[in-house]
């Protein structure tokens, strides 16, 4: 190990840090608050043409013919493309490329693309697209995931309707239930949540004069998009450059290909003119991926003393017409379906099933949101039954670092569950909950307070490549350019990258220029997903930094005419050890290296640690690392209407180490509110394959009025593999709040809602039902 590597390691363990752990303001803040920040969908060019996609008219139909002649005759049409015009493979999909770029013989959802048009104006493109005549033979759509699994159901794909089936079995489930004093069994239904990023899918493509292709498009993994575009266009991927940062929000919804391949195809047919696509919200609702609706049946066995002893789970996920990441979502759901606990006997299985209900894919939480409600609700019911404290039950069953989890593997990475629970039971909202509950705003309203815990894997799990890479380059003005491909999507990862680099290189944050989402300038560093970007990108930078320090030290030694071992890194300069008067700054070093034509760029690579053995049939479990979290919430339910407000949230994430308190709070607050939306309001309704929800007029996301008081109390478990001890939290921040709100509604009213979203109608009915049962039991 070199001296420079040791120095950076020592630095990471230091208590007194200059940048890390501080609320450094977002480096992109000023550009964003003034509107100066250009998003990909903001670019316009004088010779630009507009692209438009023809979507399917039916959710399931055979295509008997496509006639484009009238569209081609439109005076302002530049090109009209169908499946015949795809030079390469007509399909895309991150894991299984089962989604046609342009449908040939069948459409499987109304979001399917059938043809593309480029025209002189958006209006002309819309006119031309409507002139395309498609001869369909409509088929009976498959609208229910369980019906799709039955033999004899219409087959949507050659291998049948079950895209994947995963299982995790540990211990002896039957014996577990035999030994149980209490058994709880319930079925939970979850909504088709929409990402609702504020910037809809779009961007532009251009065929450059040298024949290379430029794609500018908000996206979550530009390097992978490049490969998917190359496959469809039969192009050398090195001839494609994707610029994918910044994103106007993503949350997983821009993880899969959105419009990149359409842009690439059109750009190859517009004679070098840039082509722009920007989906309307209505088109985004229909064509964009959504969160998988799940039906989850959970049976949990427990002892009188609160020990969880058995958990059986069967989950069915509706992935819609295409797989996208449905298989991985289902696998992650099953991996997390028994919570962050050590339940000795589990038997869990998940099915990912094709239907004609749009398309589902990656979304913040990635399956865990849907399954966490089972185990958490059952713990709450166990507490009610036994009179034990619900937080105590969780503490009793939570695994510690070094324990065996419910999956049967020894968890060797940091685990902060107990610490989050201890913070929960000490927080004011929990301690004084009876007082807060008595302070109802109206006599017919009732308040409830509840807590829930969950966890979420960081990174990809076993079987999927997972690595980070960073470059650091010394610039002419003595600043450093830090390149990490992982896109800026709103989380502020770029600011954290600057903090980590500035800390390691002992310079000012202002002296770091961060470049992201640029396949030409940055090395492949994986996705902005899986709660991985701070952890992975940060570690890659901390790995590159010693290489830069070596480079600087060598040059400084030459300039100062001393041996390398005498050189020491100081703030914004290098000095001769013990003699601050002999120093060189980074600008002088640049000049020296430039004169001698020497490289000024270093790299750092990070392969995420992973478990050695994959659990059989699990689809990638277990993860090496998880983030843990407890939420405490207070709700107020209007018993006359069922309307429910979340009034107060205490968010307690185990973050490993806080790198930027303001950024962490921002994630926590945003995650909490997205979790409120999931639990109480949001659902894309699809009937017979057609979207009934069209826009924000009928898809209700929380507004500022629904924002509760949110406190964030981070717990630091110091994850040794992460940069300065940090781990990812972007997804877990919206997870335990879901069962916590459900339990708080029960605490307030006695009613349990197992079908989300918990709309006023559902809550009202459940309250009435609870009243009836209470009367009967009397």
């Amino acid at each position: 190990m070199s001296k420079e590597v040791k120095d950076v390691q020592k630095l990471e363990n230091q208590q007194q840090l200059k940048w890390v752990g501080k609320s450094v303001k977002r480096i992109d803040g000023p550009a964003k608050v003034t509107g100066e920040q250009k998003y990909k969908t903001d670019f316009n060019y004088p010779n630009m043409v507009w692209g438009k996609v023809l979507r399917a008219r039916y959710p399931f139909a055979k295509i008997k013919g496509i006639d484009t002649s009238k569209a081609e005759a439109h005076p302002d049409a530049v090109c009209v493309l169908t499946h015949k015009d795809i030079p390469g493979f007509n399909g895309f999909g991150i894991v299984t490329p089962d989604q046609p770029v342009l449908c040939e013989d069948v459409v499987r959802c109304t979001g399917d693309a059938v043809a593309l048009v480029a025209a002189e104006s958006l209006e002309a493109a819309e006119e031309a697209i409507n002139l395309i005549e498609v001869d369909y033979e409509p088929l009976e759509p498959v609208t229910d995931a369980e019906a799709a699994m039955i033999q004899g159901a219409p087959q949507l794909h050659p291998d049948g309707n079950i895209h994947s089936h995963v299982t995790i079995v540990n211990g002896d489930i039957d014996k577990g239930f035999e030994e149980a004093d209490f058994i709880f069994e319930n079925t939970f239904y979850s909504p088709r949540q929409m990402h609702a990023f504020i910037e809809t899918e779009g961007g532009w493509g251009k065929l450059e004069e040298d024949g290379s292709l430029t794609i500018q498009c908000p996206a979550q993994y530009g390097h992978r998009d490049k490969l998917q575009i190359a496959r469809a266009l039969a192009l050398n991927p090195e001839r494609i450059h994707v610029y994918s940062s910044p994103n106007g929000g993503g949350f997983g919804g821009k993880d899969e290909i959105t419009v990149q391949i359409y842009l690439a195809l059109l750009a190859q047919n517009t004679d070098g003119r840039p082509v722009k696509i920007h989906l309307s919200r209505e088109e985004s609702v229909i064509a964009g991926i959504k969160r998988h609706p799940f039906k989850v049946t959970v049976k949990t066995g427990a002892k009188k003393d609160g020990t969880l002893i058995a958990n059986k789970v069967r989950a069915v996920a509706d992935t819609g017409a295409y797989a996208s990441l449905g298989g991985a979502v289902t696998a992650l759901a099953i991996e997390h379906a028994s919570g962050p606990y050590k339940i000795p006997n589990v038997d869990m299985e998940g099915f990912c099933v094709y239907t004609n209900n749009g398309i589902a894919g990656a979304f913040r939480g990635f399956g865990v949101n849907q399954v966490c409600v089972g185990i958490e609700t059952h713990i709450d019911m166990l507490a009610e039954k036994t009179g034990l404290d619900p937080i105590e039950i969780r503490k009793k069953n939570a695994y510690l670092q070094g324990d065996r989890s419910s999956l049967g593997h020894v968890v060797s990475s940091s685990v902060g569950t107990i610490e989050t629970l201890m913070e929960a039971e000490e927080c004011d909202l929990w301690v004084n909950r009876e007082l807060y509950k008595s302070q109802v705003s109206e006599p017919w309203k009732k308040r409830g307070v509840a807590a829930a815990t969950s966890f979420h894997g960081v990174g990809m799990g076993i079987g999927t490549p997972d690595y980070g890479a960073a470059t650091i380059e010394l610039l002419k003005d003595g600043r450093f350019k830090v390149g990490v491909a992982i896109e800026e999507i709103g989380t502020g990862n770029g600011t954290v990258y600057a903090q980590v680099a500035a800390e390691c290189l002992r310079c000012e944050v202002d002296n770091i220029a961060v470049i992201q989402g640029d396949t030409k300038e940055t090395l492949d560093s994986g996705t902005i997903s899986a709660s991985r970007s701070t952890y992975t990108g940060g570690r890659a930078i901390a790995t590159a930094a010693p290489n830069m320090i070596t480079l600087l030290t060598e040059a400084a030694a030459e300039i100062l005419n001393v041996s390398k071992s005498e050189i020491e890194l100081a703030d914004n300069k290098l000095i001769v050890a013990g003699d601050e008067s002999q120093s060189v700054n980074y600008k002088q070093i640049y000049e020296k290296l430039y004169e001698q034509h020497r490289s000024m760029r270093v790299e750092g690579h990070f392969y995420l640690p992973r478990e050695k053995k994959e659990l059989k049939n699990s689809g990638g479990a277990p993860h090496h690392l998880y983030g843990y979290m407890t939420h405490v919430v207070m709700v107020e339910v209007d018993t006359l209407t069922g309307e429910t407000d979340v009034l107060h949230v205490v968010a307690i994430p185990d973050v490993g180490k806080v790198l930027n308190p303001q950024g962490l709070e921002g994630q926590s607050e945003g995650g909490a509110v997205m979790g409120i939306g999931y639990t109480l309001y949001e659902d894309i309704l699809i009937e017979e394959g057609y979207h009934k929800t069209k826009n924000f007029t009928d898809y209700i996301i929380p507004t500022i009025r629904e924002t509760p008081i949110i406190e964030t109390i981070p717990v630091e478990s110091n994850e040794k593999s992460g940069p300065f001890g940090a781990k990812g939290i972007a997804e877990v921040v919206m997870i335990p709040i879901i069962p916590a709100i459900m339990a708080a509604i029960h605490d307030a009213t006695g009613a349990r809602i197992n079908h989300l979203p918990a709309t006023p109608e559902r809550i009202y009915k459940a309250i009435q039902e609870t009243k009836k049962q209470t009367l009967v039991s009397r």
Partner: protein, 161 residues
């Protein structure tokens, strides 16, 4: 096609376009003022908010034909990075922007609200004033704080020293 004359951020402009083109499209496509964003195109999200006269309105609901002789302020007119308005500074300092796509709309709405008050608003007052703007990233908590911080600074600046 018709030509319309109006003021944007203090400058006289004339734009030739179909009268049914939305003001948002005029600003974005013809005047390259892309700070105003389209998110829903229906007046639901507030991402395209501008000041028309002194009122905050959704520019996706205003047609070019309605702009003759009006005065418009977009987010760029409120302040640029070289000289940010107090509300922009507060949003940046308080971490009230994440992906940032909704932020220009919030800035314009918040500016309009702050123009109408000379006190530090309560949480509920901020919530009422900004109820028409959607944000998916921040959970709004820091936006509330930013508006209050801006009000505080605005008050301090106005106070006779």
């Amino acid at each position: 096609m018709k030509t319309f004359h109006f003021k944007v951020n203090g400058e006289e402009v004339s734009v030739t376009c179909p009268p049914t083109k939305t003001l948002l499209d005029v600003l974005r496509d013809q005047l390259d003022l892309t700070g105003s964003k389209e998110c829903c195109g229906k007046g639901e999200c507030g991402s395209c908010t501008i000041l028309l006269g002194g009122d905050s309105v959704c520019s996706c609901l205003v047609l070019a034909g309605q702009t003759e002789n009006v005065s418009i302020t977009t987010v760029e007119g409120i302040g640029l990075t070289t000289k940010m308005d107090v509300v922009q500074q507060a949003f940046s300092d308080e971490g009230a922007t994440q992906c940032g796509y909704c932020t220009p709309g919030f800035i314009v709405t918040a500016r309009s609200f702050l123009n109408s008050i000379d006190y530090i608003p309560t949480d509920d007052e901020v919530k009422t004033a900004l109820g028409g703007n959607l944000c998916r990233c921040t959970g709004y908590t820091k936006i509330i704080k930013a508006v209050q911080t801006a009000a505080q600074i605005q008050q301090a600046e106005k106070a006779p020293s």
